[in-house]
């Protein structure tokens, strides 16, 4: 069974980068361009993991997280922040909202995959279960 990852970033570049990164794995990758779209997608697909940007139009990552944690069926969904923002206040705020990991751009792809693997099982595409 494929793991469902929801990528929420206003940059199509990052969404494409993540799609390329997870292509070798049995992952169903969903995408959203801001927190509001991300919240709607999360309600629809119930992802196993969310990879979330901070700085986004319409609804930023922190606001989206606050909404997510207020939804009984979504509050336990693990979240990794992937952002260029390294302000300690932001890191401390999202830590209080239960973010599992915080990755600052630029990032090593293998390091991000390793962090994701600690949260969900990533099975290679050629060993379908």
């Amino acid at each position: 069974m494929k793991q469902k990852i929801l990528s929420i970033d206003d940059s199509k570049t990052i969404r494409l980068l993540l799609a390329r990164m997870f292509r070798p794995f049995q992952v169903e990758l969903r995408e959203a361009g801001n927190g509001e779209e991300g919240l709607a997608q999360a309600k629809e697909v119930r992802p196993d993991l969310i990879i979330l940007d901070y700085n986004m139009p319409v609804m930023d990552g922190v606001t989206m997280l606050q909404h997510l944690r207020s939804e009984p069926e979504l509050r336990s969904v693990p979240v990794i922040m992937l952002t260029a923002e390294s302000n300690p206040k932001v890191i401390s705020t999202v830590a209080r909202l239960g973010v599992r990991d915080y990755v600052v751009k630029p990032f090593q792809e293998q390091a991000l995959i390793a962090k994701v693997s600690k949260i969900i099982a990533l099975h290679p595409q050629d060993t379908a279960s």
Partner: protein
Amino acid sequence: MTNPLSQQELIEIANRSVPEVWRTQIKKEVQPSPILDLPIPSPRIATVAWTSSRGSGEMVLTISSAGAHSVVQNLLGTSGNCVTEETDLEDVVGELCNMVAGRVSTELRNRGLTGILHPPVLSRTSPTDSAHSPTATLCRTHWTCEDYSFTFSIDIHPNAS
């Protein structure tokens, strides 16, 4: 109020940040090039604003259209074929600037200047130098990577108080 950082310090920060982003994300080495204010053909310009309690600033990446296409291929490989629209190309340049700005912001914080980054703004025309405040510290660095060149600048304004 005097600027909290000298031009030389900003140049050193840029000289660490730009190569790291190219090496980490694009898997390419960049070389600093002599300062030549030659026009960059068909420029794609991304500006990331930075604000803090002690000042504010802008970080600007200017790269040619051909350079941006090269970055797309290096960054995304075959996924780069999905980048067909002009807005997508600009998104790549914006994200690249965002990453360099993030790295710069970390260095500024290590020097006691904790700030917040804002989403990249994209354009095709450069701000003129006359638009800069006389108290601003402007650092402009020039780079080459394979067959394209680009510039990255940091402009820090101290608060008036």
